[in-house]
Amino acid sequence: MKTKSFFIIAAMTLSIAQALGQGLLNKVKNKATQEINKLEQGAASNSSANSTRNKLSGNVTRTVAVNLREGESFNYSESCIDLGATINQISFIVNTGFGDKQQCFSYRNGTRTPVPCPTNTDCSTSLQCSYNKLRQIELESDEAKKYIVNETETHQVAQPTISDQQLKMMSAYMTKEQIEQMKKQLADAQKQTANQTYSTIKSRTIQFNGKTYGPFSQLSQFYLSVDNKNFYATTLEIDQAMNYTYKVITSAVGATIAISGVMPPMSCIASGDNSEFAAVVANNEGQYRILTSRGMTIEVPDITNFQGAWYSTIGSHLMILSKNNLSYDGHVIKTFEGNSSVDPCSLYVGADGKGVTSIKDNIISFADGDRFEYPLKIALIDSGGKMYFKWLALENQSVVIYQKPY
């Protein structure tokens, strides 16, 4: 079809060229090229319609990144597809053959290179969360040791002893042999604990990007931002009257959140640029609320139906998902089906706070009604200051990159 059209257009081009001269010939040539491109694009969009349930409007661009060779398939133990930061960047690994004859190739920005087949699936590029999801670090983990320095104090293990008064009382109901036995056991215990010591944590100091925070007598939580460039931590102070005060601090801004009560925060959230943060907390009466670094308090009346709070990617608006209702700065913008489980990481709220793009069951449902089934990888990219959805698909043997404005 494409060839036939090409010959018709080429023949037309030739006859017109003979009649009207070179200048006109170039114009017609260009027209012919445009026609051929149209035909190719048409064929491409047909192949993208593997599923008739896909719906893509005019603002979606489609680019064939590479055509896999016969017998090549994505290495299924290798899920590290990197979509990069710009439209043309992409890398992944494919394999051909089996067993000893298996060979892997890396496709990186259009270049195909033989590489050793990966031996593990440790993929550092996990599915991108739609917002700056803080990562809680266990205080005793090796990762925490990179940032937290413990000051310890050493204590002597107490020696077991029995006073003369206690011995006298024992002799009233124990036989002589029993007392001798007990004394022997006591001597053994004293021998075992002699000069034994143990240490406890006196205080903790956070050392982050060359700065020192603390010391804190008690540190109960430690979080890192997605890019690991900022930390958030919860400290605990207990005064002489046994009043508990938790405090959320951060390396990002000077603001803190003070929380009265014996419960540490349930979770901590931060905006994409880390200029704002908030904590979901409960007071001693069991009432839940969200406290923000700007001094706002938002009540959470029904904690059993509370599904999460976070800041939107664009504009640092506070998002709350509760009872399947998604609110944007307090206004409900979408209600999800009652029996559906919604993952906040898969919700992308539009810059105007009106539409929501969601990813569920390997289907992207865009805010404007577009839809795409079974993408391999999805990323948000910044191109010239404008945000785009970028996703990868395998259509027949073509690896295709799609892009759509956020």
Partner: protein
């Protein structure tokens, strides 16, 4: 006589070393405790599902326990999104991967569905998988539905129980608990459609490791048996 004693000792020594049990609770430490804790906190629904099959709770928990250990060590790092899309579109030959806490592969689920229907009938499978129609045909819709099923934790356990029913039907008589648990665990971890000889051979091999990079490998069957005893 002396020669005979040495010969007997030589034969016996590998057995002694092979059966010397490691302290897997210590080896896998926090991943082991978390796996154990999962069975405690989620006891109600887990027991309900196992009971509905009239199977022994301890046996089912033992054969999947090593998978729970592994899941705890890798859960923050695994990304199956691309593989899920590839499986739905192109099937198990293109993408076959482990999902969730019980580390179920789509190919395993496909085999279980087919074999269970053959042994116990379609209505029995419908009852346990709680779907109106279990479609074992190879098409996008059936793979999509299967993937949804195996991403659900309760259904994952249901697949484990279906596997156990198939195995009990196929291998009904056992001399000891140890033989049965080690054999079933190996079948679960390798491929239950293999011959009994191959599964038995696998039961003595060290292929199991937590995390992504195998620093030291252990025997899946031994870990399952260790959990069963403790």
């Amino acid at each position: 006589m002396l020669k005979r004693v040495i010969f007997v000792l030589a034969l016996g020594l590998p057995f002694v070393f092979a059966t010397a049990q490691e302290d897997y609770g210590k080896i896998f430490s926090s991943d082991y405790s978390k796996a154990n804790q999962f069975f405690v906190t989620e006891e109600n629904w887990i027991n309900d599902i196992i009971d509905s099959f009239h199977l022994k709770r301890k046996e089912i928990k033992a054969i999947v326990f090593p998978e729970l250990i592994r899941y705890n060590s890798i859960q923050d790092k695994i990304e199956t999104f691309a593989l899920e899309s590839l499986y739905i579109q192109h099937g198990k030959t293109y993408a076959n991967f482990s999902i969730g806490r019980f580390q179920i592969k789509p190919s395993f689920a496909e085999c279980i569905e087919i074999d269970f229907i053959k042994m116990f009938g379609e209505s029995a499978l419908k009852k346990f998988l709680k779907t109106i129609v279990v479609d074992t045909m190879q098409n996008i819709a059936s793979r999509e539905a299967r993937l949804k099923r195996i991403k659900d934790e309760e259904t994952q356990l249901t697949y484990v129980c279906l596997f156990f029913k198939i195995m009990e039907q196929k291998y009904p008589i056992w001399k000891t608990d140890k033989e049965k648990i080690r054999f079933f665990a190996s079948a679960y971890n390798s491929a239950y459609r293999k011959s009994a000889k191959e599964i038995k051979e696998f039961a003595n091999k060290n292929f199991f490791y937590a995390g992504f990079i195998p620093t030291k490998k252990y025997c899946y069957a031994d870990i399952a048996w260790y959990y069963f005893q403790n």
